[in-house]
């Protein structure tokens, strides 16, 4: 039956959003590197291809919006857990409109939609980590306490811990034990985990070209279906692998 909190990683749908032409030039970033728009586009397509064909997810692709250069990073627009979706209020004012399309598509999926409307609250979905048993929220420039509280309200079943981004603290804060996999490159640590009925444990991770050492670490995970996905361009706009998708487990019917 419908056990709560089981089936973590068992996704059926993924929401992605196409890369607008404005991405290379206007997407927010913390460094000044040049972004190759074409290459970024190619990586995105590969990524979507993996979701669709390798993993068999139903991919819902939102159209790009030129006025929203960062819109490809859908992760920040919503946090979905179980049947509930929290439409966030991103910390960057320029990105707040990204949530509109997201809200629409998630509503169509029949999820329970919670919208973060509090003007004092900000939260980027990317600052939220869901482990399957609980949430960790990294307080940052883009995510504040109030945003975290609203997240906690939206997902009352779970503990929501606010943390500086440090795994050690997460471990301390958690009631649960986590095994730790250490990779040498910080950026490489961002990976997408799924647990699909037909595929078992799936991990989308960095490619050996990007982070050779870290890739080796991932390759030791024998019981996982490992899919290297390159992300060289979006990284330049501070986008990691997880940023490009919102994953949903939508049961056929309850």
């Amino acid at each position: 039956m419908a056990d709560l909190m089981t089936g973590f990683g068992n996704f059926t749908h993924a929401v992605v959003r196409a890369i607008p032409q404005s991405f290379a030039k206007e997407a927010l970033r913390t460094n000044c590197s040049e972004v190759d728009q074409v290459k970024a586009q190619r990586e995105y397509e590969h990524y979507v291809g993996v979701l669709k064909h390798k993993l068999g997810l139903q991919v819902l692709e939102l159209p790009a919006d030129e006025s929203l250069p960062d819109c490809v990073f859908v992760e920040d627009a919503a946090v979905v857990c179980g049947d509930t979706a929290l439409i966030t209020r991103p910390g960057a004012a320029s990105r707040r409109k990204e949530t509109e399309a997201m809200k629409k598509v998630l509503t169509e999926l029949n999820l329970n939609i919670v919208v973060m409307e509090d003007e004092m609250a900000t939260l980027d979905g990317g600052d939220v980590l869901f482990t399957g048993r609980e949430f960790f929220v990294g307080l940052s420039k883009r995510t504040n306490q109030r945003g975290a509280e609203i997240l906690a309200d939206a997902f009352k079943d779970y503990a929501v811990s606010t943390v500086p981004r440090a795994l050690k603290i997460m471990q301390q804060m958690s009631d649960h034990r986590y095994d730790k996999l250490t990779v040498p490159d910080d950026l490489a640590a961002n990976c997408v985990y799924m647990n699909l009925p037909s595929k078992g444990h799936v991990l989308l991770h960095c490619t050996p070209e990007e982070f050779p050492e870290s890739a080796k670490v991932f390759e030791k995970l024998k019981d996982h279906m490992l899919i290297p996905v390159s992300n060289t361009e979006k990284v330049k706009a501070d986008g990691a692998l997880t940023c490009m998708g919102v994953f949903i487990n939508k049961k056929a019917e309850i």
């Binding site: 419908a2 056990d3 049947d83 509280e149 009352k156 606010t162 309850i254």
Partner: protein
């Protein structure tokens, strides 16, 4: 307050009566019959009572009668000194005992001025006055005691008596004989709100302890795995408080109405490990209440899912015909329940087809247990910066929330120490891998009481979930013995183990549905459930503290001096330990034992060991509390007297070990194998303690979760202490002590102690006040030996003459073989006993030996002079098989102050326990604890069981 005072007075009267009566034996006799009659009537009157109970009653009653008959004679004799003596010699095998005692006594009397007499009295009293004592002596004691009692704050007295009455004799219900009722104990009807929302009226004595009511409720529920549950009440500020099983109800609720709620206290992290479905069912009910009240937040979907399991459990499969949408309108699943949610619930309910109620409950729990707030007990607090936060105590540790976010978490293993001081609550954190120092995190609670409450809950949760058994006083340190605050029930590990022994067909129980109907008919809406749940949510109210003491708001006063400051650690430790001891003494009631009878003994000083023994027998009753049966005080008293008769044969000498440490301080360690005797004493002490403790006003306390066995609890002495002190001071130094010239080098002389085996027993000891002599510090070599004479029964004891200088065995007397009727209980926890089985009262033959060892006394010189008593305090602590009572007195003598510590350690247990080793350990610990003192005397009383026949 008013009420309390009233009851106290009543109580007091009884003892006095008894004492006075000696002169007029006839009255007593007359009274007895009436009393006896009482017990039976109750049963009849209460046809409503469950049959089960009745049966129990019947069983017990024959025995009781017997006892009574026997005791009657004794009681009378007690009052008639001459008679008594005669009787003893005739009927008692204990003749021997009495003889030695008498001998001993004379010296005391001589030596001790009138003043001194008092302290002695107390001692005797506490020890549980031996049966063997000559009537004369007893009489004397009575008088003395009376005086003493009077001097003491009334409260303490009351407590003692109360305790006695409580659990022990449920049978003597007052309702039966209206006449007596008026005179006697007042009965109070408690309204207990059960988890299904029904009310369970339960009549208890006004002085009943929490556990009495709790057991009754559990019995009503037919619940065996009861350790996860507890009763709660609302304090005047509407805060939910847990009813301490070991304390009197009245003292806890103060002026609040006698309304309680049966609740889950410790939420099992894995409910599937519970043994019985009924336990799971009750847990479900609690969780439903938690959810409906909002205490256990969960999402819409979860509310719906859990609600659907609840429906399945109560109503069975969804029936489209019968169950239209509104069929669930009676149920409350969430604080705000929408139509949408109800629809969802129904939708999910349909999918549970085929699940049995038990399965549905199990599914419910499997989901509920994953909720992040499952089993988290929240308390409002502020952090060091004054920001509002919540402290969440749970099975895994302490969680810190700010609003709904978890901002920190301290798992139990990470916490080194938990303490509170005034309204502050502190945890000391184990340094992390990279940190060098421990850190302490402080939180500000709304008031002192709230701080203590959190602390207590932490101690309880830690003990329950992390330890194999409740903490025992650290063996290594005498002065850091446990505090009462420690959790005294079974731990989860123990309750699980006990559960494996449950061997009964799954009890039938009705799920709520039926009750709900009736309830609604009664006009008691479901709302009740949620109502009762609210309590946790609101913040602690500021005014709670005042209420706490009820009497004095100014609790916080003097104790600042006792800072926990690390710098002062040592000093503090010492102080703390003392206060802890004291506190533990006051508050501690480690094992729920059938103590009512015992306590009663206290009330009437004259009562002897035998009484105690009998009390034990009656203990069985306690174990299975019979609803509706509580004896009124008066009645009980009478009973006691009767019992006395019986006693004579059974009791043997009580072995004691006295360990005295010289130097400025003297430690006396006494060991008493006999639990029963000890009990009496203990109870007394307890009683007094409790009076102290009533105050939950301790300003601070510490608890060290890490050490499995070492929990330190520090508490600052409270006002109560002050009260106590005066009373104790009053008594002049004891003669005995003075008499003993013993001097020894500090530290060295630890006499060898041989301990003989005792029987299984529970035990307890009594601290003696006597020990105070002042020996000038100037004479380090001098040691005063304090002796306890109190045990009348001890034949040999006495002989260990006070003045002996012989280092070796002073006296060794073998008491006669005595037949004793006593209850042998191997189990430490009354609760356990209760649950699993009731033991019968076996007859045990015991042999008692007393051996006294004294250190060589270097200087016998004029120590005999009594000094001026400065302070005296007594502290008791217990562990599974040992009970330690520490009596500390400071005496001013010739300008020098002398501290004398007397410890009485009672080691109880079956042959499994190596008594010699235990004793040796105790002595060793004593030495370690007070390196600057030496042991001057060790007296060992050993009581051995001769035959097992009695055991079933």
């Amino acid at each position: 307050m008013t009420t309390e005072a009233g009851s106290e007075t009543e109580v007091k009267k009884e003892p006095e009566k008894a004492e006075e009566q000696p002169a007029v034996p006839e009255q007593e006799t007359a009274a007895e019959p009436a009393q006896e009659a009482q017990p039976d009537p109750p049963a009849e009157d209460k046809p409503d009572e469950e049959e089960k109970e009745k049966e129990e009653e019947d069983k017990t009653s024959p025995e009781k009668k017997k006892e009574k008959e026997q005791s009657t004679g004794k009681g009378i004799s007690r009052f008639l000194p001459p008679w008594l003596k005669k009787q003893k010699s005739q009927s008692q095998e204990g003749l021997k005992d009495s003889a030695p005692k008498e001998e001993v006594k004379p010296p005391e009397g001589t030596e001790a001025p009138a003043e001194e007499a008092q302290p002695e009295k107390e001692e005797k009293h506490s020890i549980g006055s031996a049966d063997t004592q000559p009537a004369k002596e007893e009489k004397g004691e009575d008088t003395l005691e009376k005086d003493t009692e009077q001097k003491e704050p009334e409260e303490s007295q009351t407590e003692v008596k109360k305790e006695e009455e409580q659990i022990v004799k449920p049978e003597g219900k007052a309702d039966k004989s209206p006449l007596k009722l008026t005179k006697k104990m007042k009965m109070v009807v408690c309204q207990v709100t059960m988890l299904d929302g029904t009310q369970f009226p339960c009549e208890v004595e006004k002085r009943a302890k929490g556990q009495y009511l709790f057991f009754k409720v559990c019995e009503h529920l037919n619940l065996l795995e009861k350790d996860y549950f507890s009763l709660s009440y609302k304090d005047p500020t509407d805060q939910k408080c847990w009813l301490d099983p070991m304390k009197e109800i009245k003292r806890q609720i103060r002026n609040s109405p006698w309304q309680f709620a049966f609740n889950v206290k410790f939420y099992p992290p894995d409910p599937s490990q519970l043994t019985e479905d009924i336990t799971r069912y009750l847990l479900c009910l609690q969780l439903r209440e938690d959810m409906a009240s909002g205490r256990l937040p969960c999402s819409f979907v979860t509310h719906a899912l859990l609600g659907s399991y609840a429906l399945q459990a109560e109503l069975g499969d969804h029936d489209p015909d019968e169950h239209r949408l509104d069929y669930i309108s009676d149920f409350q699943f969430a604080p705000s329940q929408t139509k949408e949610m109800e629809e969802k619930v129904v939708e999910l309910h349909k999918t549970h087809r085929g699940l049995t109620p038990a399965q549905a409950d199990a599914q419910f729990l499997e989901n509920a247990k994953k909720l992040s707030m499952y089993g988290v007990d929240l308390h409002h607090a502020k952090d060091s910066e004054g920001v509002d936060i919540m402290l969440g105590v749970c099975a895994n540790g302490l969680l810190i929330y700010k609003d709904r976010l978890r901002i920190n978490r301290f798992a139990w293993p990470k916490i080194l120490k938990i303490s509170y001081k005034r309204s502050n609550f502190y945890i000391k954190i184990r340094p992390g891998e990279t940190e060098q120092f421990e850190s302490t995190v402080g939180f500000k609670l709304p008031n002192h009481r709230a701080a203590k409450k959190v602390w207590k809950v932490c101690v309880e949760h830690h003990t329950f979930f992390r330890l194999m058994s409740p903490e025992q006083p650290p063996k290594a340190k005498f002065l850091t013995l446990g505090s009462k605050f420690r959790y005294s029930g079974r731990t989860q590990a123990q309750t699980r183990q006990a559960s494996t022994l449950i061997d009964r067909p799954a009890p039938y129980f009705e799920r709520t549905s039926s009750k709900r109907v009736s309830r609604s008919l009664d006009g008691a809406p479901m709302v009740n459930m949620s109502d009762q749940g609210d309590s946790l949510v609101p913040g602690l109210s500021v005014s709670a503290a005042d209420k706490e003491n009820g009497r004095d708001p100014s609790l916080e006063l003097p104790s600042d001096s006792k800072d926990l400051d690390k710098a002062q650690d040592d000093v503090l430790k010492h102080q703390a330990s003392i206060s802890e001891l004291k506190r533990s003494f006051m508050e501690s009631t480690p094992e729920p034992r059938p103590s009512q009878w015992d306590k009663r003994l206290t009330a009437s000083p004259a009562t002897s060991l035998r009484l105690q023994l009998q009390a034990q027998g009656s203990a069985d009753d306690k174990q299975k509390p019979e609803p509706g049966e509580q004896a009124e005080v008066e009645i009980e008293e009478t009973v006691v007297i009767e019992e006395i008769r019986k006693v004579p044969k059974a009791k043997a000498a009580t072995p004691e070990v006295i360990l005295v440490v010289p130097a400025p301080t003297v430690v006396v360690v006494e060991e008493e194998p006999k639990k029963e005797e000890e009990k009496a004493g203990q109870e007394e002490k307890r009683a007094s303690t409790s009076s102290d403790s009533h105050s939950e006003s301790e300003e601070e306390a510490e608890y060290r979760p890490e050490a499995v066995t070492v929990a330190q609890i520090k508490e600052e002495p409270e006002e109560e202490e002050v009260e106590e002190a005066p009373s104790k001071e009053a008594p002049p130094p004891e003669p005995e002590a003075e008499a003993q010239p013993g001097a020894a080098d500090a530290g060295e002389a630890v006499p060898e102690v041989k301990e003989e085996e005792e029987e299984t027993a529970e035990d307890e000891e009594v601290p003696t006040d006597e020990a105070q002599n002042g020996h000038p510090e100037a004479q380090p070599a001098l040691v005063s030996v304090a002796e306890e004479e109190d045990e009348p029964r001890v034949n040999g004891d006495v002989s260990h003459a006070e003045t002996e200088r012989v280092p070796q065995v002073i006296c060794c007397s073998e008491p006669p073989v005595v037949k004793t009727e006593m209850v042998t209980i191997s189990d430490t926890f009354a609760a356990q006993k209760t649950e699993i089985s009731t033991k019968e009262v076996p007859i045990v033959h015991t042999e008692t030996k007393t051996i006294t060892y004294e250190a060589a006394e270097l200087d016998g010189s004029g120590e005999a002079e009594p000094g001026v008593l400065m302070t005296a305090q007594t502290i008791t602590s217990e562990s599974l098989c040992t009970t330690t009572t520490t009596h500390i007195t400071k005496t001013l003598k010739g300008g020098l102050s002398e501290t004398r510590i007397e410890k009485r350690i009672v080691i109880t247990g079956d042959s499994d326990i190596d008594h010699d080793q235990a004793l040796a350990q105790a002595i060793k610990e004593a030495k370690e604890q007070h390196p600057d003192m030496s042991v001057t005397r060790v007296v060992v009383h050993k009581e051995t069981e001769l035959a097992d026949e009695a055991e079933d």
